[in-house]
């Protein structure tokens, strides 16, 4: 996020797109509610009439996967209505003239023809956002889990740059990070293109720096992404170490994923449960859980916070850092004999330009947002205040692209996926919490009542959902939360593996899977057959 969570209470206009914040980030949503109570206006763009949509002053019911078109249409209106921030554009951005040309044809009517959102509503949204002095954008995976995830984000940046809504309190472009430490995983260098602190591996100076630190020359070429690695299992990739990820349930195209992991010669998993993924491993190493370990998480606002051990681990379970260190030493690697997480974190900070100003002791207060470039620096709650990291903010000339697969006669419905409040990701943890299991015992396919009738389904009955990759059976819930023509399910339940259906494509730049869009067909399951099969 460019701005701290506290800024969520400050905007005059809030534009939420592709985020089911009240369910996926509930505590952040309470801050947003405070802004609304203060009189802020809320615009929500989402294919589903989610709770957030019901709270909105203006709801844009967008067709799944058409975000870029909607955002280009809004940018067109901001320019046409002269709602731009001239001084900001002149001093902080580049490419404005070209953007104006690029937006010429991207009228709200054009955007309506693709997104299904009425042109008048697009105009209203653009005017509301563009004329506000303090407008903030919030988004989640509904923007990034598409083959055009990068274009979606760039199109959002255009809106903020045009109207100067960045680098100040109550503004900004704010992706809400999903998992508790997904930000920290990237910060720590667990990326194929960057060392710790987002230092590119392709930069010879960085290669030299890490050769000095690690005592080994590391490739100047980027590594491959996890998506590519899974594709190449059994081909060029023959050994894998996975720490704490239930890949088999969380990743798209489940059959392909299981096949990939089974074709490895050597597969090691570190986890706290024998997950569907761990069951495929040659060696499973038991790790400590979150309550049994010391370390740090970095949250969605780039705040570095201390995690503290409260109980002893069960049996022989060990901290992840210890397990990996032992493995490395047994392979003959030097520089891995740590006796606690303290020197590990201090080494991380020393090698990272964005954590350089802190260490284990200083981080204890939880007050620092990175970057903290030097000792004594107070940290950076708000990014881009006086300048962008790479000089000027660049406008992007994005184009709308269709999703990897589009609906047709055979697969006439859009399936979109997401999270639910009561469960978390693949439920290896929440599924083992007695209370939460009662709140959400099974998955339901949310279908508009008209589609329930059209496809011969029954509210509470069973349906078979199929895509070009697989089929699953799931109970039907008739609801107007789903628009006509679009159905929704979460990927939380291993017994309803929705990701057996998804996986039609990936963003070519980030390799993020298009989990948000998948054409499907649905048909009723004859209930007698189901009983007999039981």
């Amino acid at each position: 996020m460019s701005n701290p969570l506290a800024d969520m209470e400050k905007p005059d206009v809030i534009f939420c797109i592709g985020t089911n914040m009240t369910e996926a980030h509930p505590v952040a949503a309470t801050r947003l509610k405070k802004a609304l109570a203060r009189g802020a206006k809320l615009i929500v763009a989402d294919p589903r009439r989610i709770r957030l949509a019901e709270m909105a002053d203006l709801y844009l019911p967008i067709r799944v996967g058409s975000d870029t078109a909607l955002l280009l249409g809004m940018a067109h209106v901001i320019v046409r209505e002269d709602l731009i921030d001239r001084e900001f554009i002149a001093t902080r951005t580049e490419g404005y003239e070209r953007l104006v040309d690029h937006l010429q044809e991207k009228t709200p009517e054009w955007a309506e023809s693709i997104s299904g959102v009425p042109a008048a509503a697009i105009e209203k949204a653009a005017i509301l956002y563009g004329s506000s002095d303090k407008a903030a954008i919030y988004y989640t995976l509904g923007i990034t889990e598409h083959i055009c995830g990068v274009e979606n984000v760039q199109s959002l940046c255009n809106l903020a740059l045009l109207s100067g809504n960045i680098g100040r309190e109550g503004t900004g472009i704010n992706p809400m990070r999903g998992q508790n430490n997904i930000q920290g995983a990237g910060d720590s260098g667990a990326l194929p293109n960057n060392y710790v602190g987002f230092q590119p591996v392709t930069e010879p100076a960085n290669q030299a720096k890490f050769e000095r630190a690690y005592g080994r020359k590391i490739d100047l070429e980027k590594g491959i992404t996890k998506v590519t690695a899974l594709e190449q299992c059994g081909d060029t990739i023959h050994a894998m170490l996975i720490d704490g990820e239930n890949t088999v349930v969380s990743d798209p195209d489940q059959e392909h994923c299981i096949h990939a992991l089974k074709s490895l010669e050597h597969f090691v998993v570190i986890d706290i449960f024998l997950t569907e993924t761990a069951e495929l491993a040659d060696v499973v190493l038991p790790a400590t859980s979150w309550a049994e370990t010391d370390g740090h998480f970095t949250n969605t606002e780039r705040r570095i916070q201390r995690v503290r051990k409260a109980v002893e681990p069960p049996g022989e379970a060990k901290p992840d850092w210890w397990i990996i260190g032992q493995l490395a030493q047994r392979m003959g690697m030097a520089g891995f004999d740590y006796d606690s997480p303290v020197p590990i974190f201090n080494e991380l900070c020393e090698l990272s330009p964005i954590y350089y100003g802190i260490d284990w002791e200083l981080a204890d207060s939880g007050q620092y947002h990175w970057p903290i470039p030097y000792r004594g620096h107070p940290g950076t709650p708000r990014l881009h205040e006086n300048e962008f990291i790479n000089g000027r903010g660049k406008f992007s000339f994005t184009e709308y692209r269709d999703p990897a697969e589009t609906i047709d006669d055979e697969y006439p419905l859009w399936l979109t996926t997401g999270r639910r409040l009561e469960s978390y990701h693949t439920r290896t943890q929440t599924g083992r919490s007695a209370g939460l299991n009662e709140l959400l015992p099974e998955e339901m396919l949310e279908v508009h009542p008209a589609d329930v009738a059209r496809f011969g389904l029954r509210d509470g009955g069973w349906a078979k959902v199929s895509s070009r990759r697989g089929a699953v059976e799931v109970r039907v819930k008739a609801t107007r939360r789903s628009p006509q023509g679009t159905v929704f399910a979460s990927f939380a339940f291993a017994n309803v593996p929705i990701n057996a259906l998804t996986g039609s494509g990936y963003d070519p730049i980030t390799h993020t899977a298009e989990l948000k869009v998948c054409p499907v067909q649905v048909e009723p399951v004859v209930e007698e057959a189901l009983v007999a099969a039981d």
């Binding site: 969570l5 505590v27 508790n180 430490n181 997904i182 920290g184 995983a185 720590s188 060392y195 690690y214 005592g215 080994r216 590391i218 590594g223 060029t236 990739i237 050994a239 894998m240 170490l241 720490d243 990820e245 010669e265 449960f273 024998l274 060696v283 499973v284 190493l285 859980s289 979150w290 309550a291 049994e292 370390g295 740090h296 998480f297 949250n299 969605t300 606002e301 705040r303 916070q305 201390r306 503290r308 051990k309 409260a310 109980v311 379970a317 901290p319 992840d320 260190g325 493995l327 490395a328 047994r330 690697m333 974190f345 991380l348 939880g366 409040l421 978390y424 943890q429 083992r432 939460l436």
Partner: protein
């Protein structure tokens, strides 16, 4: 709510055991392990078990708020399904209990064998979005130092 339950419990005990009970409570300030908001909370523990979660009113991200997951979904920590010893796949294809020594040896040897047979670019590491940064840092260092490659990623793409 949690507090009430505790009070009822202690009210029915004798003054002596109440005192002992209180002495055995421990609170630990930590951060919720579920989503990226990063709510601060206090884990209340007794006899090595978590018995309650209290939201931290001075938590910078949450200022005293927690959602149902942060507030209640901690009993997985003590679930009977937790892995409590290493497992190694035997010749018969079954995963079996092993000592740490044997499991680490097998894990290490497997990577060395693959590297010798197929080269440095045949191994890959996937770090977690759930574990602390120290674990992620170790994962990337393991791949970079062990193989000299950048064949490391985390689970943010799916």
């Amino acid at each position: 709510m949690t507090k009430d339950i505790l009070m009822n419990k202690t009210a029915s005990s004798s003054a002596f055991s109440e005192q002992r009970r209180i002495q055995h409570f421990k609170t630990t300030r930590t951060i919720c392990g579920y989503c990226g908001v990063g709510c601060a909370l206090d884990l209340v523990t007794r006899d090595n078990r978590i018995i309650a979660v209290h939201p931290a009113f001075d938590g910078p991200a949450n200022e005293g708020a927690l959602c149902v997951k942060g507030q209640f979904a901690y009993d997985y920590v003590h679930h009977a399904d937790r892995l409590t010893y290493p497992l190694v796949r035997g010749a018969d294809g079954q995963l079996r209990r092993a000592t740490w020594d044997a499991a680490l040896e097998r894990a290490a040897q497997g990577f060395l064998d693959v590297m010798q047979k197929h080269g440095r670019h045949a191994a890959y590491g996937v770090a977690s979005g759930r574990t602390p940064s120290e674990a992620n840092y170790m994962m990337q260092k393991f791949i970079r130092v062990g193989f000299g490659t950048n064949y490391i990623d985390n689970c943010s793409r799916a």
